[in-house]
Every structure is written in structure tokens, then in C-alpha cells.
């Protein structure tokens, strides 16, 4: 560790992993509820479990991004963090607020939670991914501002690199677009239109800057390739992300009441969205091929190479699969969407956070560069189990989706939703099995942190 205050990243990474475990446990519950409809009913109905699953995902990724920023920005800026104390206060506030929110979801009916947290005063709840009580949303803004202040002050007083600037720009964008979560008009159509300014402009916009910056940082450290080359690639990749992704928002505006020209604009621009992900694949493999050193952390290298590949498949290929308006007319809101969502989030954001954790954690634990070979072997097993598990979750959901579309939307005699769900339940059982493989991978991942052994040196 080059700067003492980088150690702030460690609690953030640990919290991220802890919440990740919770997310996956609820994922397994949800998968079972798809086939055993009354599992845990009425104590934990599907909507509650899903809310926990998706909200934990968002929160742990945010912990991961913040941890990444606390690790990267001091090192990039060549200076200590502006206020480590503030960073620790922010950590506890965010963790406690997050835990209370999740407990609220699980302990009381959602309507009661809405009532006691004052949703009547400023209604923002009950919208997908933005289910948090308004007071939690305000808390998120406060935490984000304190975090951004800390990180920005650090960058301002030190060396300004392209990587830290892009990372900070992405994080500011994240906070800025989250403000649209407070806009909830009575008109459902307006609500939906601007809901996407949070959701789409996050995951297909500013989050891609964060993704690019983290990946570029890890690649610089691991390959020793000249910073100039990596930064040029970074600029081009994120340029393509935003050039395609901003107007690409239109692929959400086809069927929610917006004018029909969005079918053209959304189709054309979002068809180009795989390009930056494909460039990311070329970039990562190129940099590794041109490496000037053999970094001893092979596990981190695996995550860093896996990220662009899986992001390209999940976000790029599975996104393109259903993004053209005439196709989306049939696939919209089916299991195809679920398939894409799972692999895209895993490939792009889960894996990049695991990549920076894999790179940074040994150093944060006082090692020179890497864990023991034994520990890395277990971690690499976890990589393959989780990744293969996710590939099959995606494939089975895609199979379910195709059948669903055929039976419910395209055939001569369209059948009802519930009837079709029963007919395709085999695919849901298989998805659940793949989910258990993913869970097994996650268990290996946790174990890898406790495997001792001699530090591996180059």
C-alpha cells in the first residue's frame, strides 16, 4: 500500500462481500419461489424477496465502487485521502441505513413501511429498484455527497490522472442522476420516462465510466503497460459508451406511451451499444499481451479479463438480442429481459468490483502483491463456478423466455401468463440448479480469503 489512507477501502470491500452473500441467498429463494409458488408465503412474498435481492445488489456495488475509489484515488493522486475520518463515518452511516432498510422490508408489510417513513409527504417508493423509503433515499444522497466531497478534495490537491478524473466524473454522474428518483409525478407515463434517467443513465451511462476507470487502473497495475496507451483506450471506450448509450435510452421508450420515433432512435443507437464492450475485450487482452511484467496475482488477472468478456456477452450480445423495436415488441417484459439483466450486471459490475477487490485485498492485508498459490487457486475456482453458473442461469432464462413469447404472444391461440409459467417450469428448475452452482462459487470465494500459505512472489 503506497498511502496509509487507502486502507479505508478494506471495510468497504468487506461490507460489499457480506451484502453480496445476502443478495445471492435471496436470489436462491426467488428462484425456488418461481417453481414452488408458496415457498415462504406469506411471510416473505416474492415482491419482498425480490426487493431485497435487487436493493442489496445496488448497495453492495455502491460499497464496491466507493471502496475502489478510496483505494484508487489516493494512489492516482499520490496523496493521502482528504479525510479518513469522514470516510469512516460515511461507511457506518451507509451500512446502518442500508441494514435498517433491508430489515424494514423483511419485518413489516411494505405499505406499513411506506406509512411510517412518511411516503405520504413525498411519495418516491414502490417503483422498481427505487423501493427505498424516501428517508433512505435522502440518506443515500447525503452519503454520496460526503463521499464525493472527500474523493474530489483528494484528487484536487494531488496529481490529476485521466483514470481518477473519469472515475470521479462517473461517481458525480451517479449522484446527480439519482436525484431523479425524487421526481414521482401522478402521471405514470412521466414517472416511467424519468425513472429511466436514474436506471438507464446509471447502468448504460455513468456506471460505465466507473467500470472503465476501475478496469484501466487494474490493467495498468497488473501489466505495467504505459499509462498513455491505457488512457487513450479508456477515453475511446467511454466515448463510445456514452455516444451510443445516451440516445440508446430510447430502447425503453418504445411501449410506455412515448412517441414512436423512439423506436428508430432507440433501435439504431442501442444496436451500437455492444461496440464499446467489444472494444473493452480487445483492450484488456491487448494490454495483457503487451505486459511488461508477470504480476503474481493470477486471480486478479482472471477477473480483469473475465469482466470485459462477460460484460460483452451479457450487456452487449444479450442486450442486442432484444433491443430492436420489432423484436422487443414480443420480448418486452419477459424472461428474456431477466436473462439479460442477470448476465449484464454480473459481467459488467459484479466482476469489475471483484477484480479490484482481488487486486487490492492482498495489498490491504499487508502482502506485497498477491495471496498464496493455494488461496488464488480457490479464488479461481470461485471465478469459474460463478461465471459458469451465471452463463447457465442466463441460458435457461433465455430458453424460458423464448417459450413464453411463443406460447403467450406469438402463437395462433395465445395462452394465459400463469398457464405458460407452469408449462415452462422445467427451465426454472434448471435455472435454480444453476443458481446453486453460483452459490457454491460464492462459498469458494469466501473461503479463498481464509486460505493461508506462503505469499506468492513473481
Amino acid at each position: 500500500m503506497q498511502f496509509q489512507t487507502q486502507s479505508i477501502a478494506k471495510p468497504y470491500f468487506i461490507a460489499a462481500i457480506g451484502l453480496f452473500v445476502g443478495q445471492i441467498l435471496f436470489g436462491v429463494i426467488l428462484g425456488l419461489q418461481y417453481v414452488v409458488g408458496d415457498f415462504l408465503f406469506p411471510e416473505i412474498p416474492f415482491n419482498v424477496a425480490r426487493m431485497v435481492h435487487t436493493n442489496l445488489l445496488i448497495v453492495w456495488l455502491l460499497f464496491g465502487f466507493m471502496g475502489a475509489a478510496y483505494y484508487m484515488v489516493p494512489e492516482e493522486s499520490e496523496t493521502e485521502l482528504h479525510s479518513p475520518k469522514l470516510a469512516m463515518i460515511t461507511f457506518w452511516v451507509f451500512l446502518v441505513a442500508g441494514a435498517l432498510t433491508i430489515l424494514g422490508y423483511l419485518m413489516v408489510p411494505y405499505a406499513t413501511l411506506a406509512q411510517v417513513t412518511g411516503n405520504d409527504l413525498l411519495p418516491t417508493m414502490g417503483r422498481e429498484f427505487l423501493e427505498q423509503p424516501t428517508i433512505t433515499k435522502i440518506g443515500i444522497v447525503v452519503v454520496a455527497l460526503s463521499f464525493l466531497y472527500n474523493i474530489s478534495m483528494t484528487a484536487l490537491k494531488g496529481r490529476k490522472t485521466v483514470i481518477s478524473m473519469i472515475l470521479i466524473l462517473g461517481l458525480w454522474g451517479l449522484a446527480l442522476f439519482f436525484l431523479f428518483s425524487f421526481y414521482n409525478p401522478e402521471n405514470l407515463i412521466l414517472d416511467k420516462y424519468f425513472w429511466w434517467w436514474v436506471v438507464h443513465l446509471w447502468v448504460e451511462g455513468v456506471w460505465e465510466l466507473i467500470l472503465g476507470a476501475i478496469l484501466a487502473f487494474v490493467l495498468i497495475k497488473m501489466t505495467g503497460v504505459d499509462r498513455e496507451i491505457i488512457e487513450k483506450w479508456l477515453y475511446v471506450i467511454i466515448a463510445m459508451s456514452l455516444i451510443t448509450g445516451i440516445i440508446g435510452t430510447g430502447h425503453h421508450y418504445y411501449w410506455i406511451g412515448a412517441p414512436e420515433y423512439w423506436q428508430w432512435w432507440g433501435s439504431i443507437f442501442s444496436a451500437l451499444e455492444p461496440i464499446p464492450f467489444f472494444m473493452m475485450v480487445i483492450f484488456a487482452f491487448n494490454m495483457v499481451n503487451r505486459r511488461r511484467r508477470e504480476h503474481p496475482n493470477k486471480a486478479a488477472m482472471l477477473w480483469a479479463l473475465g469482466t470485459p468478456v462477460m460484460a460483452f456477452l451479457g450487456a452487449g450480445v444479450w442486450g442486442f438480442l432484444h433491443t430492436l423495436a420489432p423484436v422487443n415488441y414480443y420480448t418486452h417484459g419477459t424472461q428474456i429481459t431477466a436473462a439479460h439483466g442477470h448476465m449484464a450486471f454480473y459481467g459488467a459490475y459484479v466482476m469489475v468490483v471483484l477484480a479490484i477487490i482481488s487486486y487490492a485485498m492482498p495489498i490491504l492485508n499487508g502482502r506485497a502483491a498477491a495471496n498464496s498459490i493455494k488461496s488464488q487457486t480457490v479464488e479461481m475456482w470461485s471465478f469459474w463456478l460463478m461465471t459458469v453458473g451465471m452463463v447457465f442461469i442466463t441460458l435457461f432464462l433465455t430458453g424460458a423466455g423464448i417459450l413464453q413469447i411463443w406460447m403467450q404472444r406469438m402463437g395462433e391461440a395465445p395462452e394465459s401468463f400463469m398457464l405458460v409459467q407452469e408449462k415452462i417450469s422445467l427451465f426454472y428448475w434448471m435455472r435454480e440448479a444453476a443458481g446453486l452452482v453460483f452459490l457454491l462459487g460464492l462459498i469458494c470465494y469466501i473461503i479463498s480469503f481464509f486460505v493461508k500459505g506462503e505469499e506468492r512472489t513473481a
Partner: protein, 144 residues
């Protein structure tokens, strides 16, 4: 990447491209806002419809259902449920009201939300209003 393509060109492409397309997106949003009133028949958003949206949100209906294709994929699409239930508000209200508290053994079941008659009427009004938005002929058929 080619040596002739410099880092500052890449930087300009990023800042210029992003700014241009974001401004274009904002301009298109302004245009959409101008056209929307003809498509979303907002003049029909009565106090009941607005209250229905609140009931919809307060009970996290989107956690199982899709509405105009957005939400969770565990339970049926509700953007056209009003037509699917024979253009009947009463049928929608009766369905919500009659959900068994303990669920249905082995099957998916909607929770019993114990909504008041006022809330039931409001949610039905909200779903009726939603079903009358111009959604470019989506969903493809009555099954949603």
C-alpha cells in the same frame, strides 16, 4: 491503436461526443414532453387515478407484476388487465379482494392486502386509465 490518433483526440471525442449526444437527448425529451399529452390522456387523471397510483406504489405491486412491460416477471402484465377482465373494474376489485391470506398450496398467489373499498376502486381506476394510454399497440395480444 494508431499513433496518429492521439490521446487528446480521444479525450475530445469523449467530452465532445458525450456533450453533443446528451444535449440531443435533452432536446428530444423536450419534444417528447410536447407530444406526450396527446398520447397519455392526462386530462383523465382524476383524484381516484392519482390515488390508485399511490396504492399501487405503497403495496409494491411492481415487485411481482409488469406494468407496460416494466417490473417483475413473476405475475401477469397489468397494462391491459382492464380489457382482459372484460372492461370491468368490478372484476379487478373482486380478484384483489378474494386473495386467500395463506396463499394457495404449491402455487404462486397474490398476497391479501386488505385494501379498503376506496383503495380498491382507486387501483381499478388507475389500471383502467393505464390501459387507455397510447402504447403503440403493445402488448401484442390480450394475454399481455
Amino acid at each position: 491503436m494508431s499513433e496518429k490518433f492521439t490521446k487528446s483526440m480521444a479525450r475530445n471525442m469523449f467530452y465532445g461526443g458525450s456533450a453533443f449526444f446528451f444535449l440531443l437527448f435533452v432536446a428530444m425529451t423536450f419534444d417528447t414532453m410536447g407530444v406526450l399529452p396527446e398520447r397519455d390522456h392526462r386530462e383523465n387523471i382524476t383524484p381516484e387515478v392519482a390515488h390508485g397510483k399511490k396504492v399501487w406504489e405503497d403495496n409494491n405491486c411492481i415487485g411481482c407484476h409488469t406494468l407496460l412491460g416494466e417490473g417483475a416477471y413473476f405475475a401477469p402484465e397489468l397494462g391491459n388487465v382492464y380489457q382482459r377482465y372484460g372492461n370491468s373494474k368490478e372484476a379487478i376489485m373482486a380478484f384483489i379482494k378474494s386473495r386467500p391470506v395463506e396463499g394457495i398450496p404449491g402455487r404462486r398467489s397474490m398476497p391479501q392486502f386488505n385494501l379498503s373499498d376506496e383503495d380498491l376502486n382507486a387501483i381499478a381506476e388507475f389500471l383502467k386509465w393505464t390501459s387507455e394510454v397510447n402504447t403503440a399497440n403493445w402488448p401484442p395480444n390480450i394475454q399481455g
